[in-house]
């Protein structure tokens, strides 16, 4: 069985470290990290990913704008999940309108992140037209 690959974009290196260290064990995925929106978009042009995990507030991108850019590159079938400290307000609405699949709120323990992405990865595994 293929190991699912996740791209996680966040400028908070502590968040990148905990997600990269724990999700492989909890979800059996491989995590690739990027510290900026531009870095994440560059990686999307070079590698295949099964799910994209985004922080909302990056120095070089607004989260909704980045989500729209990500969607232009990966199409509609790959899940895009936000992991954000923003409460349930305009940021969440903007993210969902830009094509986000799920909006998870920080603080979000690794087990909750794993639980949040699990159904999306299962659907992805069952999708016959995935690239």
């Amino acid at each position: 069985m293929d190991v699912k690959r996740i791209l996680y974009v966040d400028d908070d290196e502590a968040m990148l470290r905990i997600v990269a260290a724990t999700l492989p064990r909890l979800s059996g995925v491989e995590v690739v990290t990027a510290t900026s929106g531009a870095h994440g978009l560059a990686l999307l042009g070079q590698q295949r990913f099964d799910l994209v995990l985004l922080d909302y507030e990056l120095p070089d991108f607004d989260g909704a704008d980045l989500c729209a850019e990500v969607r232009m590159r990966i199409g509609a079938s790959t899940p895009v999940v936000f992991l954000s400290g923003h409460e349930d307000g305009p940021e969440r609405r903007a993210a969902m309108e830009a094509g986000a699949s799920v909006f998870l709120r920080k603080p979000c323990p690794p087990a909750a992140i794993a639980a949040g992405i699990a159904p999306l990865l299962r659907e992805r595994a069952l999708d016959p037209v995935q690239p």
């Binding site: 908070d12 502590a14 470290r17 905990i18 990269a20 920080k106 979000c108 323990p109």
Partner: protein, 100 residues
């Protein structure tokens, strides 16, 4: 060869630095330096999310509450004690006496 650092060990060191950053930002806001209040609010927003993700629930809750105060009104030098519970929690968390 690369050495993998335990993220939880690295974050305890980060919490110690965060205490120093908080004290510095708090003093700058108290002196009325421009734009620092926004930086302080963003710092507390991040601290709330990341510390809670690492399991430091007390630090996370105190950072959330203090951010609410900062957003509502800029602290003055005389309000220094408002930051003290979070500063203490950060030291305790970094020493491993509470939290994750």
């Amino acid at each position: 060869m690369t050495t993998k650092i335990d993220p939880y060990v690295a974050y305890r060191l980060q919490l110690l630095q965060d205490g120093q950053t908080l004290r510095s930002l708090w003093e700058s806001v108290g002196r009325g330096e421009p734009d620092v209040r926004d930086r302080l609010a963003k710092f507390l927003h991040r601290l709330h999310g990341t510390s809670g993700t690492y399991g430091y629930e007390q630090v996370s809750a105190l950072a959330h509450d203090l951010r609410e105060v900062v957003v509502a009104r800029p602290p003055r030098v005389l309000d220094e004690n408002l930051a003290e519970p979070l500063l203490t929690a950060l030291v305790e968390a970094s020493l491993g006496t509470v939290g994750s």
